[in-house]
Symmetry: C2
Subunit: 253 residues, 2 copies
């Protein structure tokens, strides 16, 4: 195993064929011929370390980005200087859709852990899209899914802190499941603070709710590892708004 092994490694690092996120990626739904068209367009994948930015709000975005491995948070800074997390993105997810209208990114994207990112330059993307019906469809569907995701996020407004966190954990479990991981035990790559900035609650509240859930036997935490012990209970909590109220049967005040 001399030269050829090295070439193989290089190929593995960049080819869609060896990509761990293959099943979820925008390229996955393309027919082989169309995927081949895309191959020369896409740039070698790029590594971003925890805390580093993929792009910043205001950047001219010349590309869409697909996560190959790792996880990314996208966020904006509100007028009052607060960080507002718009979404957590996992392997296969595409980011940069919000820049398509104007060419300028409105959000920031930072890695939550060391991540590998594919770059799809817009220019080439448009060219391929001219020829590929499936790519056009995939782009449209990707954006439409983004609209659905954001619409779903809006529903959090009506929810209590308990419901938000339960819904978040279930959603995350679901995402892990669709990527072939366990839906019961997983690691959160984001901090409590990030979860708070995402769900619009104070870090302290995230912590308190997790503690309470643990006390109710709904889950077990160990640092960033979460083990869902009673997903049904969590689901019930999201839709009904409360458990059998084991802990606080006392009307305080």
């Amino acid at each position: 195993m001399g030269m050829s092994a090295i070439v193989d490694l290089e190929q593995r690092k960049n080819s869609c064929l060896w990509c761990g996120a293959r099943q979820n990626c925008i390229a996955a739904s393309l027919e082989a011929a169309d995927a081949a068209l895309l191959e020369p367009v896409k740039r070698p994948s790029r590594v971003v370390r925890r805390g580093q930015h993929l792009f910043l709000a205001g950047d001219q975005l010349p590309a869409l980005y697909v996560i190959r491995s790792g996880s990314i948070k996208s966020y904006v800074i509100t007028e009052d200087g607060e960080e507002q997390i718009i979404g957590f993105h996992l392997p296969g997810d595409t980011i940069g859709f919000d820049a398509l209208a104007t060419g300028e990114a409105r959000s920031n994207a930072a890695a939550l852990e060391t991540s590998s990112i594919c770059t799809l330059p817009l220019e080439g993307l448009w060219q391929v899209a001219e020829r590929s019906v499936t790519l056009r469809r995939e782009l449209i569907r990707g954006m439409s899914r983004e609209v659905l995701r954001l619409t779903g996020m809006l529903q959090n407004e009506r929810r209590t802190a308990d419901q938000r966190l339960a819904a978040f954990l279930l959603d995350h479990a679901d995402n892990m499941g669709r990527r072939g991981y366990s839906t019961e035990v997983f690691n959160l790559s984001m901090s409590r603070r990030d979860i708070g900035k995402y769900l619009d609650m104070a870090t302290e509240t995230v912590s308190r709710v997790l503690t309470r859930f643990q006390g109710l036997g709904l889950l077990a935490t160990n640092r960033n590892e979460i083990r869902l012990l009673d997903p049904t209970g969590l689901k019930h909590l999201v839709t009904e708004g409360g458990i059998g109220d084991t802990s606080r049967a006392v009307t305080h005040h």
Copy 2:
């Protein structure tokens, strides 16, 4: 003025040329040739009365809809049966983007007042899109703008009731301005309850805040008519989070 006058009226009712929403419509940015392609695709405009629905969540949506006149609210019903308004749409706005991914509407759309709606059947739309670069671009931009709009809505989460309402009024004024109306005096086609369901606050709170704003000389209300007396003050309130604090000058803690 015999027959020809009647034909003219029919044409006015349906042709893009006479549409009051021409400046903002998706078709407006198309080159003449492309717009002509779209003409045979689009169906005669349709009238929806206050309270009537354009479509319901779960419907198979065979089209995008463009508002010709009037106003529409789109909303979802949350798990707990509450109405959650996703957006208010004015002439020129396109709705139905969230159905593009699956073909099924996820939201409901109801008229806030008698409205005239253009229907763009998807089948024909895709066909024209095959041939028109500008239409493809306009569709992408429309969706991207929708993503931006939703992202903006998410920022309301962090705000107080005062800030939300002030931002809402300024945004509405801006929308009216871009359609050639006054930015200072306008009628709200939606009820206080609808505003509440949109901004996630109780009807009573909407009312109270409006009353307070009036007391501060920021605006004047008369039924559904709003007159913005101090837009700068409102803007300041949104970004800074408070007026010169006439009422509650106490620094707490």
